[in-house]
Amino acid sequence: MAQDGFLKVSRRGVLAGGVASAAASRASIAFAQENSGASAVEATVPLKFTVNGEDRQLDLDTRTTLLDALREHLQLTGTKKGCDHGQCGACTVIVNGERINSCLSLAVQHEGDEVTTIEGLGSADRLHPMQAAFVKHDGYQCGYCTPGQICSAVAVLDEIRKGIPSHVTEDLDGAMQPSNVEMRERMSGNICRCGAYSNIAEAMAEVAGA
C-alpha cells in the first residue's frame, strides 16, 4: 500500500519533469533524493527567466506553478491566488506581452520568458497610469482581485490597440475601439466579488482615452 503511494508520487514527478523538459530544453533535470527515510524521488528543474526586467534563476519542483514561483519563491506577492484553477483571474500576469492566468501554467514552462507582474508595472510611489486610474475611480474595494484586474486591463487595451478581435467586436475590418462593451467582454475573466466593475470600466476608459 505504502509502495503504491510512493510510486504514484514519483511517477507524477517524472511525468511533470518530462513535460517540463520539452518546454525547457536546455534545463537539465535534477532528481533530489528526499531524506524522508523512504525511496521517494522528486524532480527539481532549474529555471531561468526574466521577471519585471530582472534575470531570475530558480530551482523548482516541477509541480510549481508560475503563480507559486512568483508568490512563494520570489516573494512577489502582488500576484494573487484566488482559486488556483483558472477560474478567477486574480493571478493574471503578462508573459511575453500577453496576459495569462499564472496558476494555469507550470513555472518550468517559462524558461527564457519575460514576465511582468503588478510590481513591474509600477510601485506605490510611482504608479503606472492604470494603477493611478484605479485609485482615482475607486476601481476596487478589498484589493485582492486588483493586481489581476490591472494586469488584465493593461493587456486588454494593448489587445484592442493591436486589433485583436473579441466575441463582441462588431466590425472586424475597421479600427478597433475600446468601447465599454468591448472592455467588459475582455475583462470578464477577472472576477471582482466586491463588485467594482463599473468603476474599473471608468478607470480603463480614462486610460484608453489618454
Binding site: A38, R63, E119, D125, V135, N190, I191, N199
Partner: protein
C-alpha cells in the same frame, strides 16, 4: 465617552475632510500589489511550512479509519494532524459546526486532517495519500422536506421571530386586492476573492495568527476557546482582508488547522484554504422559502401584511430571517411576520451580507410589484402611499430616527426616467430585445457597536491611529484617517492608520454595516481625549477649543498642538439607553432596467440606480463603491447565484468559482448611486450610518421586477435563469 442624547450641531457639521470624496489612503499599496494579505506575510516569522487541509467526503457519519502512513512517509512531510488521532477541538459562541477533531462528521468537507510539509506541492501531494473509510449516516439535505418540522426562530438578541399586530386573517380576508405568493431563494456563497488564509506561529504557549478576519476580538476569543488556551495568549493580526461579506466574521478551519499544524510541526505553518474546499467547509447564506400575503384597499393602502420565512441550519437554530425588513418598510394595521428554522444536514449557515434582509427583499419587494399590478397603481406610487412616518409600522412603540424613503423613490424615479416604463409587461420591444424597468425599496438597519481606538501625536505633528478595526474593502483606513484629521485639525497626510491587530484597542469590527459608523465614532472619542490632554498640557480647555491647521484656538488665543510634545490617548464610544427608543435604519430606492433577448431569453442589465438615505456619508467615493458592490451581488442573487444541493449526498455540488457563478464585467453596466444629504442625530455624533449592506437590499428585487416588466413572466424561484421561463416568453411573431 457615552453617546447618550441625540447629536446636536458639532464639528462634523462644518467638516473639511469628513464627508468629502477622498481616494483611499491604502489605495497605492493595493494597486501596486504591496498591501500584505494573510498568506503573503513572508516577513513576519521565519521557517514557514505549508499546510493542506483534508475535508470529509461524507455529509454525515463517522470516520471508521484513516490510513496516514503513506502520507507521513511522503517527501517533505513534517507533520500530520488527523481527526482519528485528535480530540475534538472546543467550540465558540460564533461557530455552529465543529471545526475539527474526533471521528464524528457533521458536514461535507469538515476538516479531518492537515498535512504540513516543506513545500506547498509536497503538502498537497501527501494529503492525497491519506485513505479514509467512513460509516456514513443518513441525513436530510432538502429544505422542502424539513420545512414542516420548523420551529419559530430567534433573532440576534434572542427575541422571538414571530410578531403579530391587529387581526391579519380578518383584514386579509376582507381586502379588496390581495396577493398570496411564495418565493424561494437558494443557498448562496460569499465567494470572497481571498481564500481563508492563516499563518500560525507558537512561541511557548503564545499563539499568533496572521489571518484574514473581519472581527479581530471575536476571533481572538473564539480561537482561545476552540484551542482551550487563554485569550491573552492569542494574537490575531489582519491588516488587509481580501473580502469577507460575513464569511470571515468568525474563526474558520484555516486558523484552527494552522495552529494545530504549527504545534505539531514545531514551526510556523501557513494555510490558504484551497478554493474547492471553501464552499462546503465554511459558511453560506441558507436557502429560504418565503410566503408573502398582502391585502390592500382598492386605493392601494395596505391593510394586511404577512411575511413568513422558512430556512434551515445544521443546528436547527439561527436561520435566514427573511422577514427582518417587513415590520419596518410599509404601514398596515394588521400584521404577521414569522421566521421558522429547521434542522438540516448541510454545512453551516451563517451571516452573509445583509443576512435575512437580502433574500427578504427578494420576496417582499416582488410581492409589492405584484400588488401594484393588481391594484393598477404605479409601483413607485404604491410604495410612497404606504410609506411609514414617525413610528415603525410593525412596532409602533419604536420611533423612526430619520427616514427619507419617499424622497429616495421620487428622486430616483425622476432620475431614472421611470415615466418611460410601460405598466403593461412584455410590451416594450426594441428589435430582438424585450425591455423592462423595475423598482424596489430597500431597508437595512443602521446599527452601532462600542468601539475604541488609540491616537498618538508625535512631537513633529504626525498622528497615528491604532484600533483593531478591519478594512475588508469598506474603506475603513480612509474614513478613520478623515475623522482623526478632522477632529485634531491636521492635514489628512499627517495621519497614519494601523488596523486589524488584536494588540490594539477593541473596535466594533466589520459586520452588519455597523463598522463605518461605529469605528469612526470610537476614533472621534479617542481624539476628544487627546484634545483634552493637549489642553491640560498647554493650559486651555481642550473641549472648548477649535483645532485647525495644527493650531488650537480659544478666546482669541492660539497654541501649536505640537508644543504639548508626544502624547497618546485611548478612547471608546459607547451608546446610551436612549437609542433603544428608536429604530435606526438606512433606506434606498433601487431601479433597474433590463433587456431580454426575445429569442434566447438571455437577460442583460442595462442600467442600475440606487438612491440612498443613510445619514452623513463619510467618504462618498468609497461609500458609492460599497453600494454598487452590493448592487452587483444583488444582481448575482437574482440572475445566477445558486449553490446546488446534491440532495442524495448532502453537499454543494458547484463548489468552486467555475461552478458557482457570480457576476463578471460583462454582466454589469454603468451603475449610478446617489446619496441624499441627510443626517441622523440618533446614530452617533458622526450622524452617519453604514451603506455596505443597504446596497444589496432591493436591487435584487428591482432586477426581478424589471425582468417581469420586460417579459410578462414572473419567476418566483430564484435565481431567475432561462430554464425557468424560456418556454413562457412572448410569442416571437
Amino acid at each position: 465617552m457615552e453617546f447618550n442624547a441625540p447629536a446636536t450641531e458639532n464639528l462634523f457639521d462644518r467638516a473639511k475632510l469628513v464627508g468629502k470624496s477622498t481616494p483611499r489612503i491604502d489605495g497605492p499599496l493595493k494597486v501596486s500589489g504591496a498591501a500584505p494579505y494573510a498568506a503573503e506575510r513572508h516577513d513576519v516569522v521565519a521557517g514557514q511550512a505549508y499546510g493542506w487541509i483534508v475535508g470529509a467526503a461524507i455529509a454525515k457519519g463517522r470516520i471508521r479509519s484513516m490510513e496516514l502512513g503513506d502520507a507521513r512517509r511522503a517527501p517533505g512531510v513534517v507533520a500530520i494532524v488527523a481527526a482519528t488521532e485528535h480530540e475534538p477541538v472546543g467550540t465558540s459562541p460564533y461557530n455552529h459546526a465543529p471545526l475539527f477533531g474526533g471521528r464524528d462528521i457533521a458536514h461535507y468537507h469538515q476538516a479531518i486532517a492537515v498535512v504540513v510539509a516543506e513545500t506547498f506541492e509536497q503538502a498537497r501531494a501527501a494529503a492525497s495519500l491519506i485513505r479514509t473509510q467512513y460509516d456514513a449516516a443518513d441525513g436530510v439535505h432538502d429544505l422542502a422536506r424539513v420545512k414542516s418540522a420548523a420551529k419559530i426562530g430567534t433573532g440576534f438578541s434572542g427575541e422571538s421571530m414571530k410578531d403579530t399586530l391587529g387581526d391579519f386573517d380578518g383584514a386579509f380576508g376582507g381586502a379588496a386586492v390581495k396577493i398570496d405568493a411564495t418565493y424561494t431563494t437558494p443557498d448562496e456563497a460569499h465567494a470572497m476573492m481571498e481564500p481563508f488564509a492563516t499563518i500560525a506561529a507558537w512561541e511557548g504557549d503564545k499563539l499568533t495568527v496572521w489571518t484574514s478576519n473581519q472581527m479581530i476580538n471575536w476571533g481572538k476569543r473564539a480561537l482561545a476557546s476552540i484551542l482551550g488556551i487563554e485569550a491573552d495568549n492569542v494574537r490575531v493580526d489582519s491588516p488587509y482582508v481580501g473580502g469577507g461579506f460575513g464569511g470571515k466574521l468568525f474563526i474558520r478551519a484555516d486558523a484552527v488547522m494552522a495552529a494545530l499544524g504549527a504545534k505539531a510541526a514545531k514551526r510556523p505553518v501557513k494555510i490558504a484554504m484551497q478554493r474547492p474546499l471553501m464552499f462546503n467547509n465554511s459558511t453560506h447564506r441558507p436557502a429560504t422559502i418565503q410566503r408573502v400575503r398582502l391585502g390592500a384597499g382598492s386605493d392601494g393602502r395596505i391593510t394586511a401584511i404577512a411575511h413568513e420565512c422558512w430556512s434551515a441550519n445544521i443546528t436547527g437554530e439561527d436561520g435566514e430571517h427573511g422577514t427582518l425588513q417587513t415590520p419596518k418598510l410599509y404601514t398596515g394595521a394588521n400584521r404577521l411576520t414569522a421566521s421558522y428554522v429547521s434542522q438540516i444536514d448541510l454545512p453551516e449557515g451563517n451571516a452573509m451580507r445583509a443576512p435575512g434582509e437580502a433574500p427578504g427583499h427578494m420576496a417582499l419587494e416582488v410581492a409589492m410589484d405584484e400588488l401594484a399590478e393588481q391594484a393598477g397603481i404605479d409601483p413607485v406610487e404604491l410604495r410612497i402611499l404606504n410609506d411609514a412616518h414617525g413610528v415603525v409600522p410593525g412596532d409602533p412603540e419604536t420611533k423612526i430616527s430619520d427616514r427619507h424613503l419617499a424622497r429616495c423613490l421620487k428622486e430616483g424615479a425622476e432620475r431614472f426616467g421611470w415615466s418611460e416604463r410601460k405598466a403593461q409587461p412584455g410590451q416594450a420591444r426594441n428589435g430582438r430585445w424585450l425591455t423592462g424597468m423595475g423598482v424596489a425599496a430597500g431597508y437595512r438597519a443602521g446599527p452601532t457597536a462600542k468601539s475604541a481606538a488609540r491616537v498618538s501625536l508625535s512631537a513633529d505633528g504626525k498622528l497615528k491611529v491604532e484600533t483593531d478595526m478591519t478594512d475588508i474593502g469598506t474603506g475603513s483606513y480612509t474614513i478613520i484617517a478623515q475623522t482623526a484629521a478632522e477632529t485634531m485639525g491636521l492635514p489628512l497626510d499627517s495621519v497614519t492608520v494601523e488596523l486589524g491587530d488584536s494588540n490594539f484597542p477593541v473596535s466594533s469590527g466589520s459586520g452588519g454595516q455597523w463598522g463605518a459608523a461605529s469605528s469612526t465614532a470610537g476614533v472621534y472619542a479617542a481624539c476628544v481625549n487627546l484634545r483634552r490632554m493637549i489642553g491640560e498640557k498647554l493650559g486651555f480647555d481642550g473641549d472648548a477649543a477649535d483645532f485647525q491647521g495644527g493650531l488650537a484656538t480659544l478666546d482669541g488665543q492660539g497654541w501649536q498642538i505640537t508644543e504639548a510634545g508626544a502624547l497618546s490617548a485611548d478612547g471608546e464610544m459607547t451608546y446610551g439607553d436612549f437609542k433603544s427608543d428608536y429604530d435606526v435604519g438606512t433606506y434606498a430606492a433601487h431601479f433597474a432596467e433590463v433587456r431580454v433577448d426575445a429569442f434566447t431569453g438571455e437577460v442583460h442589465i442595462t442600467r442600475m440606480l440606487a438612491v440612498c438615505d443613510a445619514g452623513r456619508i463619510l467618504n462618498p467615493l468609497s461609500a458609492r463603491s460599497q453600494v454598487i458592490g452590493g448592487m452587483v451581488m444583488a444582481a448575482g442573487a437574482t440572475l445566477m447565484e445558486d449553490l446546488h444541493v446534491d440532495k442524495r449526498f448532502g453537499f454543494f455540488a458547484n463548489h468552486d468559482l467555475a461552478g458557482y457563478e457570480v457576476p463578471v464585467h460583462a454582466d454589469i453596466p454603468h451603475q449610478e448611486c446617489i446619496f441624499l444629504d441627510t443626517l441622523d442625530p440618533i446614530v452617533s455624533p458622526m450622524k452617519a450610518k453604514g451603506v455596505g449592506e443597504l446596497g444589496i437590499c432591493g436591487p435584487n428585487a428591482a432586477v426581478a421586477n424589471a425582468v417581469y416588466n420586460a417579459t410578462g413572466v414572473r419567476v418566483r424561484e430564484y435565481p431567475i435563469t432561462v430554464d425557468k421561463y424560456l418556454d413562457r416568453l412572448p410569442a416571437l411573431a
